[in-house]
Amino acid sequence: MKSLIPILVFAPTIGAILQVLNPRPLFCRTVAILATVISAVTAGILFSEIDPQNPIETPQFIVNWIKSYSIHFALEVDGLNLLPTLATALIFPFLIISEWNRSFARRGIHALLLILETAILGALCSVDLFLLIFFLMMIPVPLYFLSSIWGDEGREKASFRMISVSLVASASLFLGVLIIFHGLEPHTFLIGDLRGKLVGKTAEIFGVSFEMNQIAFGLITFALALRAPIWPVHGWCRSLILRAPASIGVATLLAGYPVAVTVFTRIGYELFPQSVGSHLDLLMGAGIITAIFGTLSLLQEKDLRGILVSFSSIATGFSIIGVGTGLQTGLVGSQFILFSTAVGLAIWGFSSEILHYRSKTYLTEELSGVMKTLPDLGVSTLIALACFVGVPGTIGFISYSLLSMGSFNYHPGIIIVSLVVATVVSGFLIQVFRQIFLGEQKTASLSALTFRERVVLFPLVFVIVTTGFIPSPLVEGVKMTVMRILAQGSPN
């Protein structure tokens, strides 16, 4: 089964290369969708292979890549990356389908999305630090071209901001990883081999000595905070998504907080448990502020894509709160937040694009009474929103329940903050839903959903509901790995 992991990661890139070899439109589209479906099916098989009772024997693929630098091609699917990996592999086929009929440079957008999927999945599954920076540094490149070619007015500034921030993040991560690599003898990039060996090590920069726990952990955390992004370094994400088609916005978000939070959890808890332990309050604070900021900005939103960004800020905040608990339930809840919000945001993004395609606007105040002509779209969106605010029967409910349990054990006050955020968000979303879907129909009659659009929406709705009713396989898949990691060096 371990040989399936490279297929999961590289099937999309192989698809992109095949597109170059044969430029016929039908071939290109078929290859693109097949590549992402292969990746999604592989993710499903890997998920089914994870034995919840045996967190040690997870699918792992390790071969030497550059032996002289101890660089391994090491990929693993375990409880720490299972849910974001599943969400990414699941959503990308629908991203390809949503861009099925793009009139301008369709082959380009498909190829870039495929490369982006490889980079995201690679970053999620890497257990070698070199491979991790390799994939993390690769992510912004397709994103830059996606946004600067297919974006709207003002995309130049937005994509430039994104790439500048990403380059700073990459440099910070690179330096952090180099310091770790050269701080230990024998040198290695494998996270498993580095575990528990960084305590008490020091590194010098310009003659000033730092503890490895401070400098490397600080550099890596800074890089991931930029990439997530969390408040106050989140501006690039908003400006980019507001100037890109919603589908590219969804891809941008998938490349953002799910990857950053997953990588932080792995590196933080496996390599720097003491540092994480001493900064739990800080993490919790960052999570709360990011969630509150997301809520406040959500209240101002009048743009469908802006709502997408604010949602993602709230999701980032909540997932960081889960990581900051340092407790099993909180960490599992954090992973569930990543999964449920990613799927919910994808549905919202696709719905936004469907509405924009018909009404040529992303502004909520210009849309009204859509339910009358597009009831299926209305129901799908409603379920996505329900998932987002944690209504029972959706995976969102499970996520918030787990998170709340973990947070309560950490500090009961966090529950109050979460409840306030959830109430405000629910109220706003009901208002937005009423504005767009209910009420008097202002806009001209919108055409019914096509078969392709239904294919994009319904399976994701199905995932939200099914996992909402049967969450235990997912919970078990994540729980044992989290327990293993906490047992190795609990930050509490």
Partner: protein, 486 residues
């Protein structure tokens, strides 16, 4: 005697071909233009094949023990021949090089490649090294061979002046060391310094003279100022060729001179330390840091294409100095890997730029990738490679160089290198935006040149192989550095 002559054959082929081209040009000009390229290419291929035979000869000295045949020199010679090959092919496709100048271009490329090969293989007699090195002035003549362009002539003039400075400074160093040790042989100078001991003042002056003198063609601080203007003014193929050739020869000499004359082996095999008289590593680290930072800042504030790429070329030298600072086998191997990657990525980048710029001269329209998408993608490929972004091989070579510094706790320099990476990355993406933006506009496509595409594929293919098979490449490089003559 015959064996020794055989070892010189790669250089002899090139010199004979260059002489033939010049004589042909003097005798008759016109139809012979057609045979310039095949003649030059045959000589380069011949040299490459001959190099393979030289590999089989094993390590040793030849030419009255003044020259060395070892893994390091053979690797550098191979790189120089590949640079010449790419230079000749890129020249052929560029419209900046007029038909009348083709012979001079080809002859100069072959000539200075041969000289460079002699330089990088010469190890014993220090004055031979520096004299040959100064003949790089011929390379700067190449920079002026552009269709009547004042900037190109200025570029060449600056190159000539730099070569003279370089010769003066390195000659002074040779005289200085000879006056103290009475030796020209690198190894004997080293022994004399160790056994007799020389004053740290003479030692440091000599070292500084060599370092600054080599810096003119190595294009590192403080001698790099001429290079940006010259590279900006010259034709694109000449710039790509000359910059790669200068760097290969400079870092070939630097590694050899620094290791043989100014260092001694440490207790760990494969590691060297500066000889006791003076620790020059901090000086080198300052030069490295300033080269990186100043050229990155230069690139950051430029908007003109040629200025940006001139700055990027200078920046590369800063990265190679990181490898030199490590003063060990892995550091030197990372320099060789970087140089090997560079000849393909710089060659490719300038060849694609040349493709677009030539065609822009014909039409007044804004230039963008939509005019020729495959060439545009190739341009982006080479550009991202030069910046050092994954998954392209430029990333692996940058990683090995920065890692060399970090391994010896030069973390501050690694930080400076990464800041340079960020600044140059931002500049490159700022520069590339108008090209990408143009994809949205329907523009008339440029005429396709299949031979140009074959050249680009020929440059992309080895780079892709470097990325995937990084380990065998590194092994080859490491084994080239690990030779018994040091």
């Amino acid at each position: 005697m015959i064996k020794e002559l055989i070892l010189f054959l790669p250089e002899v082929y090139l010199i004979l071909a260059a002489t033939g081209l010049i004589l042909g040009e003097v005798g008759y000009h016109g139809e012979r233009v057609r045979i310039i390229l095949p003649t030059a290419l045959i000589s380069v291929f011949g040299s490459l094949v001959q190099l393979l035979f030289n590999y089989t000869a094993g390590p040793g000295r030849f030419g009255h023990a003044n020259f060395i045949n070892d893994g390091f020199s053979l690797f550098l010679k191979t790189l120089l021949l590949l640079t010449a090959l790419i230079g000749l092919l890129a020249d052929r496709k560029s419209q900046e090089v007029s038909l009348e100048n083709r012979t001079e271009h080809a002859a100069l490329i072959l000539g200075i490649t041969a000289l460079g090969m002699l330089v990088v293989s010469s190890a014993n007699w220090i004055w031979i090294i520096f004299l040959m090195f100064s003949l790089n002035v011929l390379g700067s003549l190449l920079l002026s061979l552009k269709k009547t362009d004042r900037k190109a002539i200025e570029a060449s003039f600056k190159g000539n002046i730099s070569a003279i400075y370089s010769l003066i400074l390195t000659s002074l160093a040779v005289i200085l060391f000879y006056s103290v040790t009475h030796e020209f042989d690198l190894y004997k100078i080293h022994t004399a310094i160790i056994e007799k001991g020389i004053s740290s003042r003479i030692y440091s002056v000599g070292f500084s003279l060599i370092l600054i003198g080599l810096g003119f063609f190595g294009t590192y601080f403080p001698s790099q100022l001429w290079a940006k203007d010259s590279y900006e003014g010259a034709s694109l193929p000449a710039t790509a060729f000359a910059s790669c050739l200068f760097r290969i020869t400079t870092f070939g000499i630097l590694v050899r001179v620094v290791v043989v004359q100014f260092s001694r082996e440490s207790q760990n095999p494969g590691f060297w330390i500066p000889i006791n008289t003076l620790n020059w590593l901090p000086v080198l680290s300052v030069i490295c840091g300033l080269t990186l930072l100043l050229s990155a800042l230069y690139v950051f504030r430029q908007t003109a294409t040629r200025k940006i790429f001139a700055g990027v070329l200078v920046l590369q030298s800063g990265f190679y100095l990181l490898g030199l600072l490590a003063l060990d086998q892995i550091g030197f191997a990372s320099i060789l890997l970087g140089l090997a990657t560079e000849i393909f990525m710089i060659g490719g980048l300038f060849a694609t730029l040349s493709f677009f710029e030539d065609r822009r001269q014909k039409s007044d329209d804004e230039i963008s990738l939509s005019r020729s998408v495959p060439e545009g993608i190739a341009l982006l490929f080479f550009l991202l490679c030069v910046i050092g972004l994954p998954p392209l091989p430029g990333f692996i070579s940058k990683f090995t160089l920065i890692s060399s510094a970090a391994r010896h706790q030069w973390n501050g320099l690694a930080l400076v290198a990464l800041i340079s990476f960020v600044l140059v990355g931002i500049s490159a993406f700022r520069w590339v935006y108008p090209w990408v933006y143009g994809l949205r506009q329907r523009q008339m496509a440029f005429s396709i040149s299949w031979t140009h595409r074959v050249l680009l594929l020929g440059l992309i293919f080895p780079l892709a192989l470097f990325s995937v098979f990084a380990e065998p490449m590194l092994n080859w490089v490491s084994s080239s550095v690990a030779f018994p003559l040091w």
